[in-house]
Subunit: 330 residues, 2 copies
């Protein structure tokens, strides 16, 4: 028998199909070890020495010859700040120029590194650059929302091996963000408290879906996970905007994120995954009802026609089992 | 420069990134011809002679030894009518038993057939079975919505070669369906007419995104297509429920669907794709503001972290170019 579960944050029903149940270890695919890649690749535009191949550098930690993390314009930006924010409406057709920012954050000089294998300090450096770029870009007039994300491996939509993340700042509030805000506001209006803080409190009490607790962050699998091994990392402190993360939290998130990704790396043999930081639209950072978080989505299954036709996902592994599996990997 | 476009029906903004633009023919991948598969496979549960390997048969066109189309229970159903419709709410956790129906429609006896290669009559038979199952299942108490869909190829989420579609009837209105209805109702309340009829009228006037017109149906690419080559097939007649398709329309849809899928088959070398029929919740079939349609989604690109983190999609091909490409394939 299967079960339907409702996700309070996304507003989605998912089906946990235990008839097609898989054990967590069924998701392990034979995957090339990250370390078997070369440490340096002459043709890689992100490797040290090839800095000239990347467009405008927007930020750097470390000096130009021995940098730790760099952010640069995306060479094939989906949006650009050279464009104007202009809306065109004719009849049913509503469009805008592709105004925005699209940057690449080169996470580490070493070609074959990845967060699961880095030191805490390395990861802290990446998060510092995220914050710095977030704060700078939220001041640009016309930017509504900033999405920081990472694609690891081909099933996650990247073919570039060198460890990197991206940032896209959009001139509209993305509909997924708007939907989450509306549900969170509804929850707040009815209950008088933040839905995310309430969920975190409840998960800490239930314990079964917790992956990892650190001082300032909790990694857990949502009750209604839409794909196997979805992991959310929530700050314990109520805070709507990622831009407001403090230094202590950056250190602790580095620890939590690295450890969570290491559990995936060793437990599921370096699976392809995405993560994204889900923050508030830049103009709404003072709200009481929203809460930023980081969402890790391993790409172990392929959504099919039912998912595309209904928005409901069939998940073949119980979040409680997946969480236990990762929790037990030391 | 790129462009953002708003999809009136899905409520989503998409980015058409012409900086990363691909020509339609860049999407052609070397793909095994359907006909190179065997006509019959002894181990295939959907091949004639193996009927005993499928669960309960719910419908059949033709006699038991020389059937044309069969529908059967899905052996690993995501939901089941043996379960009760029961809601459980405790604290923040809202769940339901996995009540519903999950059937497989075996489209043709021949293992290596596919709609693009079938006769109009074969496709008509499949659509007749869709309608028959839709009408029967909408009478089951507790069913809220019926999703008919097809997965063709591994990137579309199937590993079964034998041509088949599926039907899942859900005990809740899926959130994507609810969202579409709300937007359509808002459009109707403001404009006094159906958003889908209005869009169709506008597309027929603009012409640039039309793929194929037949007597009762129009295949076109939505102005804000979220992935390359998304094609919508709209009935010309305003009709909220697929269950109300008439015989003349079934014949014409067979022609339109087969031709559209043939254009994809020959133009892009048998790409993996999904389609789904987007109909109204079963209790709302008399509304003036909704309109069923069939959505074909080729699986040529992989959504990445930005898409997962924002719900906004980056499409690398202009719908107008993709439509022209398919229109020109005879």
């Amino acid at each position: 028998m299967s079960e339907l579960r409702y996700n309070l944050i996304s507003g989605e029903w998912i089906i946990v199909a235990t008839e097609r149940a898989k054990r967590p270890k069924d998701f392990i695919k034979a995957k090339k070890e990250q370390q078997s890649l070369p440490e340096y690749k002459e043709t890689c535009p992100f490797c040290p020495g090839n800095e000239i191949q990347t467009p405008v550098e927007t930020f750097r930690l470390g000096d130009s010859r021995a940098w730790k993390v760099r952010s640069v314009y995306n060479k094939f930006g989906a949006v650009s700040n050279e464009d104007k924010k202009e809306r065109h409406i004719h009849g049913l057709y509503n469009s805008m120029n592709g105004f925005g920012m699209h940057e690449v954050i080169i996470e580490h000089p070493r070609h074959n590194n990845c967060i699961a294998l880095m030191s805490y300090e390395d990861v802290e450096n990446i998060l510092k650059v995220y914050k710095s770029r977030y704060l700078a870009i939220q001041e640009i007039k016309g930017i509504e929302c900033i999405v920081i994300f990472k694609n690891h491996g081909p099933a996650a939509g990247t073919s570039l091996e060198h460890p990197h993340s991206q940032l896209i700042a959009t001139p509209v509030v993305p509909p997924q963000v708007r939907g989450r805000l509306e549900r969170a506001a509804g929850f707040f209006d009815f209950n008088g408290k933040c839905a995310f803080c309430t969920m975190l409190e409840s998960e800490l009490k239930e314990k079964t879906r917790i992956v990892l607790e650190t001082d300032n962050f909790v990694a857990f699998m949502p009750y209604a996970s839409f794909v196997p091994f979805t992991t959310w990392i929530f700050p314990r402190r109520h805070s709507p905007s990622f831009g407001e993360i403090n230094n202590e939290e950056i250190s602790d998130l580095a620890k939590n994120l690295k450890t969570t990704l290491s559990k995936l790396y060793y437990g599921l043999d370096n699976p392809d995954f995405n993560y994204s930081i889900r923050s508030i639209p830049v103009g709404e950072k003072g709200t009481d009802y929203s809460h930023w978080y980081l969402s890790v989505i391993p790409r172990l299954s392929q959504p099919a026609g039912f998912e595309l036709g209904s928005g409901m996902f069939i998940n073949t592994v119980l979040p409680e089992e997946a969480a236990k599996f990762l929790r037990d990997i030391k």
